[in-house]
Symmetry: C2
Subunit: 234 residues, 2 copies
DNA sequence: AGTAATTTTTAGACTAGTCTAAAAATTTTA
DNA sequence: TAAAATTTTTAGACTAGTCTAAAAATTACT
């Protein structure tokens, strides 16, 4: 009984958000970002590679701590407190990615896992100095927007290459997937941020696309590829 | 029973050293570094701010995993495997400290806690690129040597200012304590790495020292201060 | 609307790390 | 060298995070 009291005291005294809690909040943020009004237990479970039971456990904790709005069997949304944590984590992640590419010359397919660890370093001062050191970048090496210290994202209209019309030319401004195999494939065929792509033809049969890259080579791109490349009309 | 088997399997499959285990190894390294032949449970407990019981628990685990040589009631030493982990951690810590000061312009009293988190980022490639980016520094902002990728430290003969003889002049090459209050005190009286200090007198009574800093101001330094400043004869 | 399928939650177990209190071993001291 | 002091270990509890299996709730489908 005495022990219980002591533990309760320590809990209050040393209260801090854990890496795991942060990761769950980021996962929820990303699920909702994709347009859905709320995140489901199974959706979070998939994104986090944990069991649904673990997710339910964590949702209870996060709700208790006011990071999320949660009612049993209904989906979850972030409170403004939770949103702040998630946005800050994304800011850190993307700034570190810029650091890794711009300063340490990593390739864009090597940085995700490292940034995944670095985003948990707890120091606002550090991140603001880093932001300054990197000249306040607005987008990371995959073209994703970097929120500012207040959590505001720079909006940029872009859409998948698969939706660009025949005869039109687009400029690559981002990718929807950050996996090494995908990015290495883009490297191999010469696509990077800033590349121009002109659509020759969309094939209905398998949704593949014939396109001219950087005014030189012609390639057939599968739907899986064209759908994950984000462009702006140019 | 079935569960037990599954857990054992996962344990093997996902084996990685934890942050906590790393921190204990570093603590043991630092205790032994100070000249003692082995580290005691109480010594580790003090350095880690955990109970002696927790230390004993951890020693069993670390021994099981071959990071330390441990016999009940005897002190512990690091195996070469454990030494490698500790040295690598110190390398990471000190390189990040250089980054924080040289690139992000932090003061030397603000960096310890941040580096304490950054040292756990797991990527040899990252550290080697960082080392390169920083031009292979041999000492960190507190004057401590940075081991190279093979774990070798650059040796430099230095000793506490309190042991410098009267009339002799020394150059500050390091500090034995990294706490903010101590480093800020040094800032205030104008002592940094490279400063010169000439001893005027050592007072036996309280072991304080009268000295001339950088050929200008004369100060009385307490033993606590002079003992934590490392110098070379100049 | 009622059953089937799916999703979510609960129950209970496990690990890594932590603690306090008490027991055991070692070291110090008279 | 025997008692006292100190150190170390054990015993048992607690939290955060994880799991599987089973129960409960919701959604989908005749």
């Amino acid at each position: 009984m005495l022990q219980k009291v002591v533990y309760a005291f320590n809990k209050q005294r040393t209260y801090m958000i854990s890496h795991t809690e942060e990761n769950y909040l980021k996962a929820i943020f990303k699920l909702i970002e994709k347009g859905k009004p709320s995140a489901s237990t199974n959706g979070i479970s998939k994104k986090m590679s944990t069991s649904a039971a673990s997710v339910t456990d964590m949702l209870k904790r996060l709700s208790e701590k006011k990071y999320i709005n949660y009612e049993k069997y209904k989906g979850v949304t972030l409170t403004s407190k939770g949103n702040k944590v998630a946005t800050s984590l994304i800011r850190k992640h993307r700034l570190w990615e810029v650091f890794l590419v711009d300063k340490l010359n990593f390739a864009w397919d090597e940085i995700h896992d490292i940034a995944e660890e670095m985003e948990h370093i707890q120091s606002e001062e550090l991140i603001n100095r880093l932001d300054n050191f990197l000249d306040h970048p607005k987008f990371d090496p995959h073209g994703d927007p970097i929120p500012d210290a207040e959590g505001k994202f720079t909006f940029r209209h872009s859409f998948p290459l698969s939706e660009l019309s025949v005869e039109e030319t687009g400029t690559v401004v981002g990718v929807q997937e950050s996996s090494s195999p995908f990015l290495q494939y883009l490297d191999k065929i010469g696509i990077s941020l800033g590349s121009t792509i002109k659509i020759i033809e969309h094939f209905d049969y398998d949704k593949s696309t014939k396109a001219v890259l950087n005014n030189s080579n012609t390639h057939i791109l599968s739907y899986k590829v064209s759908h994950n490349i984000l462009v702006q009309k140019s």
